[in-house]
């Protein structure tokens, strides 16, 4: 985050009034967020960079159409998501193919957790194991569900924002989230029994 404490929406209002340089602040705020978000979908660093850039440009082009009553972050994520889905369709790949990357990340990072966590060692190990199982369980979800998990827990968005991004209703997202967590729990327990 940056030192500028103005809200995204305030900055966007200034951009709309013609202060182009303010837009750089929004780019700084969201570029890594957006880039990772695209990476979830595309698994391709270069393409994700390009689409991140593209999403910002689209936002800028649409600046006059930015609705004051909407929040900036879901809006730009929605634009980025559309770009990613188009890209995926074009390349005919399956979205959010696998969370194997996260699995390896989680494995590599368990050492990091041990060093950084303030929990006691035994809890830490348990947490690392739990997470590894959870990553495996996530892999068993369908791509729509993984998208919801990504938005909710990785991007830390609330149901109403997720609904806005995926074009659904808030209630439907909540229901889906509960269903996903339930199935995640079952998969997780299955996996734990096998270990």
């Amino acid at each position: 985050m940056s030192s500028d404490e103005r809200l995204d929406e305030e900055l966007m209002a200034l951009v709309r009034k013609g202060d182009q340089s303010i837009f750089a602040e929004l780019v700084r705020r969201y570029q890594n967020d957006l880039f990772r978000f695209c990476l979830h979908y595309l698994k391709d660093v270069e393409r994700s960079k390009e689409l991140t850039q593209e999403a910002f440009v689209r936002v800028y082009v649409a600046r006059d159409r930015f609705d004051d009553s909407r929040r900036f972050r879901p809006w730009i994520l929605c634009i980025a998501r559309n770009l990613c889905l188009n890209e995926i369709k074009r390349k005919k790949t399956v979205p959010m193919e696998s969370l194997e990357e996260y699995a390896s990340t989680a494995r590599e990072a368990s050492g990091e957790i041990l060093r950084s966590s303030s929990d006691g060692p035994s809890e830490m190990l348990a947490a690392a194991e739990r997470r590894e199982l959870l990553v495996k369980a996530l892999d068993g979800l369908d791509s729509d569900s993984r998208e919801i998990v990504t938005l909710r827990f990785f991007e830390r968005m609330q149901a109403r924002d997720i609904a806005e991004i995926v074009g659904s209703s808030e209630g439907a997202v909540r229901t889906k989230l509960h269903r996903i967590l339930k199935s995640l729990r079952e998969k997780y327990h299955d996996l734990r029994e096998h270990v």
Partner: protein, 539 residues
Amino acid sequence: MSVPDCTYHLDAISALLDAGPGAVLSADTLRHIQSCASCRREYEWLVNVSKDLEEIGSLAARQAPAVDLTAEVMARVSAIAAPAQALKPYRAPRRYMVRYAGLAGLAAAAGIAVFFWFSVRHDGTTQEPSELALSQQDNEARFPHPPSESVSSPGNQQSSLDELQKAIGLLHKYDASAASKKPVFENTAPPDLHALTASEVWATTRASVTDAGARDRLRRWASLAPERAKQVTQSPGASPGAIIGAAASLDPAEAAPLLLTALSSYADRPAAHMALSKAYLSRFVNLQGNDPAGSRPDSAPPSGLPSGPGSSDVSADAIAAADDWIASDPKNALPYCLKALLLLEQAQPDIEGALKLLSQASMLPSASAYGLDSAGFNQEALIAAGMDPETAKTLSALTAGQSQNDFLVKFSQNLLDKARQSLNQGDLQTARAITEAVQQLGSQVGTGAQLSQERLAAMEMQRQAITLLETIYTGLGSTSDIQQLTLDTQKLAGNMESFTSFLNDLGNLFIGATDQVFGLITDIIRQTGDLTLFDHLPS
């Protein structure tokens, strides 16, 4: 603890899932958790899994490389910002110079008619370039210009244009409309509805891959003759779905009241709202094909009825129907665009209102003309008219999306015509906004597509919008817009290329399919459309 108690507290626990950081449970629920083991397990699981998932997310985030795209983005933004000043209509004669210099230079260099891009219509034939020629004369008259006026970067502009023209050339290679040409119905007796079998439909589908006549036959079988459609709507036991399906074969003036009645039981079906809005719209704008044969075989357009396009001002009930559709289907970009067209079609066009709707539409993730739902209505109507149910299902599945394709393409052409009018009046701002909205609508239809016919329509809409945008952006002398359009165009050409190979695969599948496989195909299409057909078929 009693079960209702647990239900209440479990709800409170679940609500934590969506609460912001720092949210806490009520003292009441906390007390309950201490005494109820099952709720406590639920609570602990939820807290742990949320924490773990967030942790996994931030580990992955830390693993991702950090990027700094500020310079690149701001460079592109600056390029956009400059010409945007010139967007105000009537203000930028200098920019027009670029256009003429660019186009003339290009024509001379490449030896092609510059109007070619503009005049290629969705049926693939070239038409008289009168519109552009007119608008050009218009602009020249409006902006008498000193010919030696210097422009910002003519070389840059020229090469951007070259790139764009090259990209647009790619679009013509893959003519998205080729597979959806208007059927030319043979002048034969209408089919015997009762005698038609599913086997015959399958055989005709196999033939349709290579034989346009067979494709037309299928389509004719799938649409009711007006008299028969009328009988269906008048039969006392007809379901709302059958009435909506049959109304598609009727004159819009006749269809509208029937659709209104059907809608009273189908108020929650967006596709039913669409049918009504479409019927209203076709009273004011031409949604039929250009070909003299018309889009339906046995229906001569009824004469004397005040239902033809352009015959009356847009009625309040048409607008109200569009509003109802928007209300029942707020995430679909299509109803917003439809209402926008109605506003533009009024005797006193409400341009501001239309542009507002179009910009609302462009924020939405997708658009749909409900090809699958409409196929369902069609199936009900065919059965109500006496067709064997299996045959009706097969026919409506194998022709699903065709009339949506026609509608969407025709609808977009109407919107683009409005953009051309604005262009001719020198209102580039409006022309640009409308055309960009059509391009976006095309991409939204692509996102919402379940049927290859819908996908085809999506591509065709984008292709037409791109062709017009080229004129508009060139007129604005806006290099960055041209560059962006070039990227969009290349992307579309790529989509068309890969989609062409999908259609080939689909054709090959049909040619080789046994009756049994066709039964399976029909079921899959009716449930999920044909775009995911290969994912659902056992290999």
